[in-house]
């Protein structure tokens, strides 16, 4: 049932359809367009029981569980899932080796289901220490043992899970982002989600194709955007969900999928490495997973608390492939896919308060990744299932019109579940590296993972976010990365084209700096002077460039065009079309003045193998 919803204070006469008339006027010149006014817009609106933002493992597990409960208990529930990617699976990537624990609970018969992508069991797991020229076997914590797990493409797994959800009657709308929340009249609760506006030009004026975002009024809203989600960020700030918790910390994962020569392919083999090319002031390591069909997933994770602003995660990964250990595997093969995404490293101490009036955070939006295992899918799925159970119960309760539902039962359920105890056991491993340095952390982790297993009375804490760990460029050494040598290593733009990313051109730049000319100047000054233009090196899609400003005449127009504003002869160029939605910039920019917001839905990468 669709109805027009007008803002409270504005009651237009029914005959007035001035907004609709826009579509019938002939195309107007850009200068004649009206600026979009968020306070003065008519939105289509629809009522659902549960609205889930994000069609990833957490969101889809929640949706499927809700439909299972509908069958078990008989009360209908309408579930809508919004996904900013152009199709389910397009924006997700990971190693990945999945622990089927949550899947076994959600879909006990999954092995008999048609088309499931868990066709490649992990057959071995080893760890190696790399030096510049050699590689040596190394003991690994028991968490990294992969017996019983499956090597998959998370994109394909998610796409399959999406098909299962749709077959159960879940409505999934790819190409539409959950851009903002709908709040109760007094602002204390969430009553649903608004999708993003489409058809705005770069200056926020309405084009002929303008359509306002649609409103989904939901009794329960589940936010499942993955690590560092944009809506999650807004809700965590508004409802102070992080009070009393450690800040969330992150790593950046950069990966490629290769088809390798049959002679070197060993189905199901999983390897992790530490050491080269990372220096001991960086936490991280690589993975090498032999997937099904002769393909290999290879990638590098670097903790975003790295101090040297000259580091380029992309280039570290490219040069790593020339190490004899990787070269012998990848040589003669073909690179099929590339992608990058940030992942949570904060673990147990960084889990925020999980619920707010009217909804909850599930999956990596909350942050349930088990860092030593480097697995989060099983925890994400389980959190989705528990949230679904709490939501279903909450729907059964009488909620007054305009009041938000109570999802506190979900937090209780998570604390009683194996997700909580699993994360609690490994809570000190990753923080020990930050606290005791690389070698201290390695030793501590060895003891804690093998012997004490987290049964210590203390908990190590992180006190600052990743961006604050960045040292000034003058205190660090620039890094001399080797140039790309195809067919083994590539330049970044070739890799970006492999992601299939694109965004419609004439739309507002979705990477938002603080407004105004002064803020822009300040950003350029500090980033170029103090941090050697960190974003230009860190972004895995070459979105940010600190380049020479145009000659003087352009500078006179600075007042008109904030994008031309600069400092010391340099300006910031944002190639937002390249963005692959990894969120690194929002997390790592030293000046913490970049806000990642959702672009028009359907844009972004088109992962299918990752």
């Amino acid at each position: 049932m669709l109805r027009r919803v007008l803002p409270r204070q504005l009651r237009l006469p029914a005959a007035s359809s001035s907004r609709r008339a826009l579509h019938l006027t002939p195309r107007r010149r850009a200068e004649d367009r009206d600026t979009f006014d968020p306070a003065n817009v008519e939105r289509a609106s629809d009522d659902v029981d549960v609205c889930i933002v994000g069609a990833g493992p957490a969101g889809l597990s929640a949706a499927i569980r809700l439909k299972q409960l509908e069958k078990e208990r008989g009360r209908d529930v309408r579930v809508v899932v919004l996904e900013k990617g152009s199709e389910v699976g397009a924006h997700i990537l990971s190693g990945a080796v999945i622990e089927p624990r949550a899947l076994d609970e959600l879909l006990p018969d999954w092995k008999t289901m048609e088309g499931h992508p868990l066709t490649q069991p992990a057959t071995s797991s080893t760890m190696r220490w790399l030096t510049a020229t050699g590689s040596y076997p190394m003991p690994h914590p028991p968490q990294m043992n992969n017996t019983g797990n499956y090597v998959v493409s998370l994109s394909q797994f998610t796409a399959w899970l999406g098909g299962v959800a749709e077959a159960e009657g879940v409505e999934i709308y790819p190409g539409f982002a959950g851009a903002g929340a709908v709040y109760t009249d007094d602002g204390t609760g969430v009553l649903g989600v608004v999708t993003n506006e489409v058809g705005l030009d770069r200056k926020f004026r309405m084009k002929d194709s303008f359509e306002p975002g649609m409103e989904f009024r939901a009794k329960v809203t589940l936010v499942a955007e993955g690590a560092h989600g944009s809506l999650s960020k807004v809700l965590q700030n508004k409802f102070r969900l992080r009070d009393g918790r450690d800040p969330q910390t992150y790593g950046i994962g950069v990966k490629e999928v290769w088809r390798v020569r049959p002679e070197v392919y060993e189905a199901g083999k999983t390897v992790h490495t530490m050491g080269w090319p990372l220096t001991t002031d960086m936490y991280g390591g690589s993975w090498l997973y032999h997937m099904a069909d002769g393909m290999v997933s290879v990638g590098l994770v670097i903790g975003l608390d790295y101090p040297n602003p000259y580091v380029s995660p992309y280039k570290e990964f490219q040069r790593m492939k020339h190490h004899p250990y990787f070269k012998s595997l990848l040589e003669g093969g073909e690179c099929l896919a590339y992608g990058a995404r940030t992942l949570n490293e904060g673990g147990f101490q960084s889990i925020p308060k999980l619920h707010f009036p009217g909804g909850a955070l599930i999956g990596c939006s909350a942050g349930f990744l088990n860092v030593p295992k480097i697995k989060g899918t099983h925890n994400a799925m389980k959190s989705g299932m528990l949230a679904a159970e709490a939501a279903y119960d909450a729907l059964g309760e009488e909620v007054q019109q305009g009041q938000a539902a109570d999802m506190s039962a979900y937090e209780e359920k998570i604390r009683q579940s194996w997700v909580w105890s699993e994360l609690r056991e490994v809570r000190n491993l990753r923080p020990s590296f930050a606290k005791f340095g690389f070698w201290g952390g390695l030793m501590y982790s060895g003891v804690d993972s093998l012997i004490t297993k987290g049964r210590t009375p203390w908990t190590l804490h992180t006190t600052v976010g990743d961006a604050e760990h960045t040292k000034k460029a003058r205190d660090c050494k620039p890094i001399d990365y080797p140039p790309p040598q195809p067919p083994l290593s590539f330049d970044i733009l070739t890799s970006v084209s492999l992601t299939g990313t694109n965004h419609a051109e004439d739309q507002p730049v979705h990477l938002r700096l603080n407004a105004g000319v002064d803020a822009r100047k300040q950003h350029v000054r500090e980033n170029v002077e103090e941090y050697a233009g960190l974003l230009g090196r860190a972004c895995p899609a070459s979105v940010y460039e600190y380049v020479e400003q145009d000659a003087a005449p352009a500078r006179e127009r600075e007042g008109e065009n904030v994008e031309e504003v600069g400092w010391g002869g340099k300006k910031l160029v944002i190639n937002s079309q390249n963005c692959i939605h990894c969120k690194l910039c929002d997390i790592k920019v030293p000046t913490q003045d970049i806000n990642w917001t959702v672009p028009e839905g359907g844009g972004g990468p088109k992962y299918s193998l990752t």
């Binding site: 669709l2 019938l24 152009s86 409505e171 194709s209 649609m214 299939g500 990313t501 088109k606 299918s608």
Partner: protein
């Protein structure tokens, strides 16, 4: 086609599901075609065709009786029809072909003619000028040939006079722009500058689920879709080799002679 009462226009919009334009194409391992396990979308020129049909209805209002979208393809092609319905088509027809079947432009044209016989009559067929996967650019023209009716291809502007039963089309040709007037029924193929397609808004996508969608098979329409062409091999283009710099004109001439581009000994 049987002539229709001049007062109401029925529009048919054939659409095709192709590999999405932003995806990097790879040749498949068997060298018989491209990797198809990637994102697909509606052919961009067909999007323009759907948009034009919807705009025609907005301009001519009641003079347009209905817009039917039709696609020929495997079961997933249904998503393309849903997009067309969400953009403003009224109903849809899906001619379902086997997953691995190759349907050539001639077979498509024959199937479209059969659909028009079965569900028609239609006064105007608007489709994209070419599909971005095969770049054939033949279907519209072949359909006009089979039907014996007018065609106006590479349209960058379309105006229909329903009362007179004609359409004025501006065509993009090598020399510039050509304006033709065709008698309806006619086939129009859409070029890039015809319009900028609208977004399928979420409310419309939800409404589209309720619009009628009929499924047919080639056998039901009595058309044999066996390919007339055999694909021998598909390979990537040769890798571009680096060029060379020369120091002076004499060296350039010597190199060109050596490469056999200029006559004479090097």
């Amino acid at each position: 086609m049987r002539p229709t009462p001049r007062s109401l226009l029925r529009i048919l919009v054939p659409v095709k599901r192709c590999v999405d334009y932003a995806v990097k194409i790879r040749v498949n391992a068997q060298q018989t075609g491209v990797e198809t396990n990637v994102k697909h979308s509606m052919n961009p020129f067909d999007e323009i065709a759907v948009e034009e049909a919807v705009r025609l209805r907005e301009r001519l209002k009641d003079a347009v009786k209905g817009i039917t979208a039709v696609t020929i393809g495997p079961s997933k092609a249904q998503e393309t029809l849903r997009t067309a319905l969400a953009m403003g088509a009224d109903d849809a027809v899906h001619v379902e072909t086997p997953e691995a079947a190759i349907v050539e432009p001639l077979a498509v044209a024959k199937l479209l003619r059969a659909v028009m016989d079965k569900k028609g009559p239609y006064d105007l067929v608007i489709l994209g000028k070419q599909a971005i996967d095969d770049d054939a650019g033949q279907t519209g023209q072949m359909l006009a040939g089979l039907l014996g009716c007018a065609q106006a291809t590479f349209a960058s502007k379309l105006d229909v006079d329903v009362g007179a039963g004609t359409a004025d089309v501006t065509r993009e040709i090598d020399g510039g722009l050509e304006q033709v007037r065709v008698k309806l029924p006619a086939i129009v193929t859409a070029d890039l500058r015809l319009n900028e397609p609208r977004y399928a808004s979420l409310p419309n996508i939800m409404k589209a689920k309720k619009k009628p969608l009929e499924k047919l098979k080639p056998e039901d329409l009595g058309v044999d879709i066996t390919p007339r062409l055999q694909m021998l091999k598909v390979t990537e283009p040769p890798k571009r080799v680096g060029g060379q710099k020369v120091d002076n004109v004499d060296e350039l001439i010597a190199k060109l002679k050596k490469a056999g581009v200029l006559p004479g000994a090097a």
